[in-house]
Subunit: 363 residues, 3 copies
């Protein structure tokens, strides 16, 4: 497959700088692009990578057009408002997505008689839909997915292979659940009775609002009472753990391997980098940003960044960490000062011996 | 559905304080309860939440009955010995559990001819049971579960969807394995030979004793020789990793995302909070409690709490952490003292100049 | 089953010390061996465990034969070059592996018409193979595995139950993917637009080279553009997260619960202990070794060991950590020195009062 710059510019509604007849045969990142590939630049940093790349053409942000680096590029450019989205469309031109299969309800799926499946929804071979489950329109229920009894799933949802929804879980519209994620397993609660841990029934459920995406292998436990909730538009990466009765606000973004104990609540636009851990019953305020591996044991006001274990505001935490790295040096200097003070004491004592009262008071 | 306080008190064998004719239509946590809901309180903390809630009635611990907060409540109360268990029964009254399906061995399951399946055990569609596997009575083998050849499963076990048991794994009675957990994958062992890592055969197995519960996505690797063991009554949360040849004692409780390298052993009643990591061949004594994110590299005596990376007894660790947070301040004060000592030295030198011998010795 | 030492020595090509007629009935680790079991020792440490064990015989490294501990053993020994491999063969003699089933393509598998499956490859019941997928010879595609459309799988690969390959993933030869691993889920990328996070299409793929082993529950995300790559011979343990566009070199070894954000690159023979986290776009040089829980935010030169959060070279890091543990003591001493310096100041001031000028200058 090949295309001229003119054709691609028409496709994405961009403005051409340089030769419109140049032909490219693929789209690649700056790292992988060869002379027959078109690449892209969203910012100055990308532009520098582009200038050092072999790319034969590029889609760049219109705002970069007058920058020195852009002006120095000898390749045809297509200027657009949103270079990343436009480049993705170019990429899809060269590598068209497989069309969505329209298989409806596969005879090799296991669908309970009482389940209701919406129009244009695919239920793939090996998927299981439990009693009384309701699934909206245009969903894809991939092979091996298990939708428990009584689940409610909105429209336009994607459930990737082997994802599991326990009973009575509720998903909004346009929810994406990646492979092997588990929604609604029992919360982790026990009472010690006669030396053994007795299971506390987990009788609540999980509610996932519209436009949420949940990564592969992520687990979201059902509430003991009430519901564990994931707010609208929140995005969870792979292998995240959300304990029972957590309530996440809208538009949170959590990177992989984050773990939340029970009953954690968050405001909106909370961000967690990888491997953050948050203890039970903690509240994280709107717009708080937690650095990777942060460990949180108390409520955090929103609107700022936090680091460390236990977590501190970023500025304090960075100071503590820098100080920690200087610590062996500090200890060494400490010892020198101590030694010197002891010497001074000795001197003063000697000085005192040859003198009058005042120093006699020294302890 | 609705019920009077009298009906609910009869259901749970409780003593009524206030109007027995009050009608409630649901059961909720204090956070979610409205005036037509019954809620509960196990301790003083719950009581305060209850006092501030809209709940129309409550199940409370008999021991709280005389507390000032309880006496001040204007709603009907039901007094019981175990408020949590009793409330769960009330909750189930309003939201009855789906009855267990009695499907036996589904024709859509893949069960090997040589497998033996106990009476009243369900094998759901899409589950696979390997050769020579033996499964006890009253088990539920949910859709997509794979029970490898030669596995032995006791009675009353729950294997949730897509859980996987590799070959020759053994489960006791009343074991619960949540969705997508993997029991018996190969331990992680290699020998470097001619520049490449050669796999060391993992010829052992996994033995899980009675009353163990294993969370969603948790992985327990098989031993190289012998068996990885999980002791009776031990509870593992989601996304825990147990390496090959670990032997966990009875009644351990591990929160999610804990990771144990190979050959770790634990006593009884060991507790790990989330994201703890334990290095290989370490032993953790009876009743040791590890705080979240603790990193363990050496044997730990039981009976106490530990924190930090590397782990320290809680008291030392909390001191280190507090000191760490004060560290930038310490560094600042350190510099002041240093500066002052230098000045004192200078003064003493000057003092010496105008004086007799003793200070001449100062270095 | 039983065997004489002579028979076992013949099996593994070893040299006998002691009675060749001794009969053993099983093979066990030193910890579990009884008088009728054969055990093994690879090094001096094993030898000491062996000396304290009840084992009735042992396979040991030839290089240990003259050691004092070995000479003192009163049991028959078989001397070999590679005691571990040889013992594994003995172990398999007593517990023979189940023969590989030769079922071909099960009629209960869901294989797309356009998929191509190699000779002697098993596709088990409940496995799904998508359109245009190509699978080499002698592979085992276990129950519940999903191979997406357009995937290419080499020869002699093992895909354990419920592993998922999204579309267009590529595996080399002799690749092992353990249960519930997910290869090729969407990378985690969004743009904030009008207050909501819009998904950035993840149009790349994942390429896994020859002889790679991937643990249970591990997730490897597909690239946005280009490919996430796992180099030849690299071994990943359970529950590891590899973000989009990472490129791992050959012969890396990562223990469980390691997490890599996007676009991390590694050289060859990089080792990560458990729960390491690496931030996006970082490069780790050849032969770097990261200790458990290390947190990496910048490029690391190869050839050395690193520890801590943030990571430091091992020596610096160990010093910082030791200093950290001494910190409360340092703070205490710091306060003493401060107090003493204040006293000295006072003394000097008093001394000054009874004297001539020089000290009058003191601040």
């Amino acid at each position: 497959m090949s295309a001229t710059i003119a054709e691609l510019a028409a496709l994405i509604g961009g403005e051409i700088q340089g030769s419109p007849e140049t032909i490219v045969t693929g789209a690649q990142s700056t790292a992988d692009a060869t002379a027959v590939d078109i690449s892209f630049a969203v910012d100055e940093n990308n532009l520098r990578l582009l200038a050092n790349s072999s790319a034969g053409a590029a889609v760049i942000s219109r705002s970069l057009a007058d920058s020195e680096t852009a002006v120095g590029l000898a390749i045809p450019l297509i200027l657009v408002d949103d270079a990343l989205s436009s480049f993705c469309r170019v990429l899809e031109h060269f590598r068209p997505k497989r069309p969505r299969s329209e298989i409806g309800i596969s005879p090799a799926a296991h669908v309970h008689d009482t389940a209701a499946i919406g129009r244009s929804t695919n239920v793939h071979p090996g998927a299981t839909i439990g009693a009384d489950a309701v699934i909206g329109e245009n969903c894809d229920i991939h092979p091996g997915v298990v939708v428990g009894a009584g689940c409610h799933i909105g429209a336009d949802c994607q459930l990737y292979p082997n994802a599991v929804l326990y009973e009575d879980v509720s998903l909004g519209d346009r929810v994406i659940i990646h492979a092997n994620a588990v929604i609604g397993a029992d919360g982790f609660g026990y009472q010690l009775q006669d030396g053994a841990f007795e299971k506390i029934p987990q009788l609540g459920t999980v509610v996932i609002e519209d436009d949420v995406e949940i990564g592969a292998g992520t687990t979201i436990d059902r509430a003991m009472i009430g519901a564990t909730k994931i707010g609208q538009g929140t995005k969870l990466d792979d292998q995240i753990m959300i304990g029972h009765n957590c309530v996440l606000g809208p538009h949170n973004v959590f990177a992989s391997q984050v773990g939340l104990a029970g009953s954690v609540t968050t405001g909106e636009y909370v961000m967690c980098a990888g491997q953050v851990g948050i203890a039970d019953h903690v509240h994280i305020g709107d717009g708080a940003r937690l650095a990777s591996k942060a460990g949180v044991h108390k409520d955090l006001p929103g609107g700022q960044a936090y680091v460390g274990q236990p977590v501190q505001p970023e500025r304090d935490g960075m100071r503590s960490l820098m100080a920690l790295h200087k610590l062996p040096e500090i200890v060494r200097r400490m010892r020198q000062v101590e030694a010197r003070v002891i010497e001074i004491d000795k001197l003063l004592a000697e000085l005192d011996d040859g003198q009058q009262p005042p120093l006699a008071k020294a302890g």
